[in-house]
Amino acid sequence: MQSKNKTLAASKWRMAIAVLLACTVSLVSGCAADWVAPHDQASEDRLISAYERINRFYDEITDTAPAERGYPRFARHYADVATDLRVLLLRQKTRANNSESEKITVNILESWEKTREQHRRYSESAERRKNPYPDTKINLDRQQFEDHFKAALIAERAKR
């Protein structure tokens, strides 16, 4: 009888240790750091696709005679890129722990809208109507988007 009680007590003791260790393990597992959003291939693809569209836009405007570079001719391109960037921003906003990529996308969108507004303003100016988008400004703006997109892509790839 005494030996049966001892076996029962030992078995209860072992069970208690197992439960305690299981709790410790699950506690430690729950502590896994989750500070950065997981890498999102769709966001990366959308970034590349928007950057391609912007580059095609600049190639087209460079190939256009200076006097024909007025805003109305390119208005559709501006709208298409703005839509792509807004969709990308929406995607970034829905991801947890993603504030940095969200802000970079906001910066890109604001740069795009600023550049669009400058083009519109130059096209309406009598002084600049002969060449509303000079080559030197094209180079400047191209570099601006290359730098912003590079930052966005590096941020996304760092999440891998």
Partner: protein
């Protein structure tokens, strides 16, 4: 397995995780300065060409700040991810040791 060995392995795993990310971050930080220099040169060229009005020059100088912000936000992601990987490597090693401990005790 004793606790000292577990801890030393955990710290080693964390260090390895940080070292893996460090060269990429360093390279990008270096490239930021070069990119800013390049765009400022393009800005000067456009100004000399008369391609920019006063309002645009002001907007482009503000743009430089925005680009720099984007670039350092990317650096922030790289650093955060390195820290996350290091923390998880540390926790992962301890977790594995605990699981082995369970097998041994039960």
């Amino acid at each position: 397995m004793d606790w000292k060995t577990v801890w030393s392995e955990a710290v080693g795993a964390a260090e390895k995780a940080v070292k893996a990310k460090a060269p990429g971050a360093r390279k990008f930080v270096k490239s930021i300065a070069e990119a800013r220099k390049k765009r400022l040169e393009l800005l000067l060229l456009a100004m000399a060409d008369g391609a920019l009005d006063e309002q645009t020059i002001d907007e482009e100088l503000k743009e430089e700040k925005a680009i720099l912000e984007s670039e350092f936000l990317a650096v922030q992601v790289m650093v955060k991810k390195a820290a996350q990987d290091a923390a998880n490597a540390l926790i992962g090693t301890i977790e594995k040791a605990l699981f082995k401990g369970i097998d041994f005790v039960v």
